[in-house]
Symmetry: D2
Amino acid sequence: MAAIDRVGRNLYAFVVHKFAIGVFGASGYAGRELCELVARHPGARLAFATANDRQGAHARFGGEDVTFVAAEDARLGDAQLVFSALPHGASARWVGAAHDAGAKVVDLSADLRPGNGYGSGAEDFASAMAHAPYGLTEHARAMVRGAEIVANPGCYPTVTLLALLPLVERGLVAPGATITVNAASGVTGAGMTPKRELMFAEVADDFRPYAIGNSHRHLAEMRAMLTSLGSDADLIFTPHLLPVARGILATITVPLAEPLVDVLAPWTEHYAGEPFIEVSATIPSLKDVVHRNVVRITATMAEGVRAPTVIVVAAIDNLMKGAAGQALQNANLLLGLEETMGLPV
Amino acid sequence: MAAIDRVGRNLYAFVVHKFAIGVFGASGYAGRELCELVARHPGARLAFATANDRQGAHARFGGEDVTFVAAEDARLGDAQLVFSALPHGASARWVGAAHDAGAKVVDLSADLRPGNGYGSGAEDFASAMAHAPYGLTEHARAMVRGAEIVANPGCYPTVTLLALLPLVERGLVAPGATITVNAASGVTGAGMTPKRELMFAEVADDFRPYAIGNSHRHLAEMRAMLTSLGSDADLIFTPHLLPVARGILATITVPLAEPLVDVLAPWTEHYAGEPFIEVSATIPSLKDVVHRNVVRITATMAEGVRAPTVIVVAAIDNLMKGAAGQALQNANLLLGLEETMGLPV
Amino acid sequence: MAAIDRVGRNLYAFVVHKFAIGVFGASGYAGRELCELVARHPGARLAFATANDRQGAHARFGGEDVTFVAAEDARLGDAQLVFSALPHGASARWVGAAHDAGAKVVDLSADLRPGNGYGSGAEDFASAMAHAPYGLTEHARAMVRGAEIVANPGCYPTVTLLALLPLVERGLVAPGATITVNAASGVTGAGMTPKRELMFAEVADDFRPYAIGNSHRHLAEMRAMLTSLGSDADLIFTPHLLPVARGILATITVPLAEPLVDVLAPWTEHYAGEPFIEVSATIPSLKDVVHRNVVRITATMAEGVRAPTVIVVAAIDNLMKGAAGQALQNANLLLGLEETMGLPV
Amino acid sequence: MAAIDRVGRNLYAFVVHKFAIGVFGASGYAGRELCELVARHPGARLAFATANDRQGAHARFGGEDVTFVAAEDARLGDAQLVFSALPHGASARWVGAAHDAGAKVVDLSADLRPGNGYGSGAEDFASAMAHAPYGLTEHARAMVRGAEIVANPGCYPTVTLLALLPLVERGLVAPGATITVNAASGVTGAGMTPKRELMFAEVADDFRPYAIGNSHRHLAEMRAMLTSLGSDADLIFTPHLLPVARGILATITVPLAEPLVDVLAPWTEHYAGEPFIEVSATIPSLKDVVHRNVVRITATMAEGVRAPTVIVVAAIDNLMKGAAGQALQNANLLLGLEETMGLPV
């Protein structure tokens, strides 16, 4: 029934009527990616695109000319769904406004994510999820489908949590373990505001960690999610800046309760049939995932160590599966469309 | 007395007579770097440079024209010291030949390193060291000074061991700990032989781990060294390929017996006065170390975890402190010269 | 009538039957791009993909698994159209074999291009065109439509000739002029065979011209084309190697018979309605064209010089409009499909 | 006599007393390079380094810690020579102040260069030169030696003029010729002020011309210099932005009065004995010149054209020979030191 209804909605969107989508914060890297995806989406069209610092400027998305407007001038009533790619802190207010105006909303900021505004205890997590489910789609598909507002996960949490979920949900992580996450991101992850340390001559030929010692803001939502699943594992998360434009790769070391015999089995079983998850014995690299809404995962047991430990490697495009792509995946669910519609694989 | 003698030797080398140095395997990245360092060294000159696949070809080092010869045609008797930058397996033979001809030798291959030809037990380590000390200079300075042959450490082991030594030697590592080493290297670390996966269009915009699961050949010498110091820690070592030409950065997670109060103290104390070791609260990056014979180290305690854990970040230039620079540092000691002579800081 | 027929063929290809396409030389950069385009083409499917040095190896194109076969093992009879991305010299033989087996052929090598096998005189040009039209599609659309075999232009000639045609065909170039073409290409233009000078550490951070003094092989087809149009202009063509994977940008200086009043008019008029040509007052850059089958062109009169001179800047993706994309554009014409079908804009 | 005096001054500077050098605008790319060169110069030391936007910040030059001060707080009286790397327009005032305080000055801005403040006629040129010679050192060595203030040439003019001088001074350029200069620069040439178009993700993988149609500010000094030498040639100058940090390469097309028989002879003869000019049949690339104070030049006659034309290719490091290195070369002359002192070759 639901499937038939979805087919119907898809056909309707494709043939009769494209859903009207608004984008707040459309001039940043994630915002531009959203506009491009919407413009090329067979069942959607761009209703408005806001960029307060560039209002009146033109941009081309999907071959169409678009004029940026101020957020204040966005005609909220025109949009059936709104994405917010506004900065943390500035987003929640516009999410509320769009929702009040009748739109469904996907918020790409951290404002509504668990562990941020909503604390990190189990109760806080539940109440955050009730208000705005944490849209790690493969984990929260059913909740997203029934929601009005979705808190889209951060880029680092997306790749980390998708890599860890099969181990955590199957209870395979050693009790009291410390999980070590080393991740490296392309510079679009740092946004488009001009800063000296992001200029070409500063980033090229270089590589460096930042926020070492567990001071990155994304830890909160990763911890909140693991806690909500009953895990007692600690995380040590060290992000690095890569001299590339796009992509995140995470190398994750997980102490296990006991060795895995079939090392890929937790992932192949957990993610069977998932259209955007690729589990493979081949080591993933950024080239495999950029411009695609997928995560690629491999895993290998560490040789020559006493404590059984698996090394999981996962890669995503930080602007696609780590931001705009996953946001559209959630939006498709909110609108009752095929989850894969308009998403590059 | 030794100091006076060293001053004398330095003056002699500088004013009267430059030591004659031969380089085997001079056309690879490490070999070229060695030739350049020797050619600019105030107390040395290049006696010969071999490159079997490019014999007869010309190259410029330090502004001088040099003609590559075949290894067979190298006049071993002319050199007081020889570097071998030949590939693993091919090097030991020429190290022996040069030594038989009366030269001191620094071998940059893995052939004589502990854990390779010599096994990895404690006894093997001792016998390897007696034959050819493992030239991690800051650790083995005295042994190097009295040696005939030095086994120059690999690039990854250099950065990893220099980062870990202060913790290991002070007994600060938690008993039975698993130390996680995530390291990333520029492509010159993979050598100069043309391979499809090292071409520009394959490496640019990409990032990927390799040899995951503890299968990298450099683990042997790292483990041998830690074992020789009485450590029972396990290592999980995951190397990555960076889209840069030079530099290695290692992010190392070490479970500790108890928290460090002054987190940098183990390194500042252990390395006090070392000319090539820079300990700093600032996070190092490749830019800080390329073209310099230094290692830069920082450390931070992980927040929000139950098991006290320190994150150590260390960076080197893989061709300098990780290969040719450290080799020259050892050569200076073998020749009785100032350890810093001719080395860029 | 032709239009109706084309609509019919498109519908047929889309709904009933996809054209079977073979690719010779499928493991190089252009060959892989061709396979990817064919696999995603709504009216085509991949019949075979040859790669003599990698036969039996697997690759994924458009989400499908493909096994490379040897050219000798390709079932020529299965394909209605064949692309050859074989090296110069090796291609003509397989073009002939495919044609004999009944397929239409687009040859991406230089073997059949004017100025190569066929000399460069006007008669030679005509006879070359009769046998296998030089498929600069926007110039030779009608001839391509009626042909059996098309000689697909080189990457540098494509960008250069599309930039120059409006000036040449309108007789705007100064009589006896010397046209200066400085072009720079990403390294995929140099092919995928591993060579020392194409390795990452050699190309990164570098920039250099090659074949200076008019010794590049692509000059022949550029001159042949200009001569065929009655132009007496000389060309000075200097290619450069860029530290990027994809894209070509040409900066072309053209002495004019008299100043252009509306400097863009020759191009906007000449290319009115062309789906793959973008003329703009904005200066093009590689980012505007990579992964797209377009050429972007701008032009500006030089200030402060006595001889009226226009500077034309044009950019393409060397693997798309400069190779696989234009080849598919020609293939669509040969098969009677919409010219734009399956081509990214 | 002068030579003996210079030897004396060099010895004095080296052994007894290092010249005190001030740097205005020390936090930009050229300013930092100047500070590094001064700190490592055997006959000089850094007296002060100004950076108005970063006053109080620390930097390390030549292993020494330096604190930036505001220009207003610089103790002008302490410096025997001052470099100004301040922006165009802001520099002249501080050049005057330093000169009034008794220092010799090398100004790296355009403020005092011919064709800028001083117009571009022959008389203007002479009066500009009398006030502050245009310090293209190999051309103006004698004038620089006797000067108080030197206007250091721009990066593009340095490489272009050094490439053209031998042809122009020998009268080899065709009368009334249009010389075409296509040059490409690394992004440090655009300064260190954060701008969106200079961020890593905007510059990487891209290549684009700018200021096309002869609108680049550096044309003025190039034209002024050529005019002062009696040349009537027109210039068409098109700069490009490269995705590299450092280096400029210029490809220059010059119509000649008649063909060159020995194509390199004009350069080898004109620059015989010059320590910083390398003429070679090998095509230069950025790798040959970065971090070195040299220009590398080659030349080739164009084949297959009626008008005899030579293609000259020249490369420099924009921050060394194109800015700080040439500035120090001039400073050495102003101070009576060896011209090559402290300069990397």
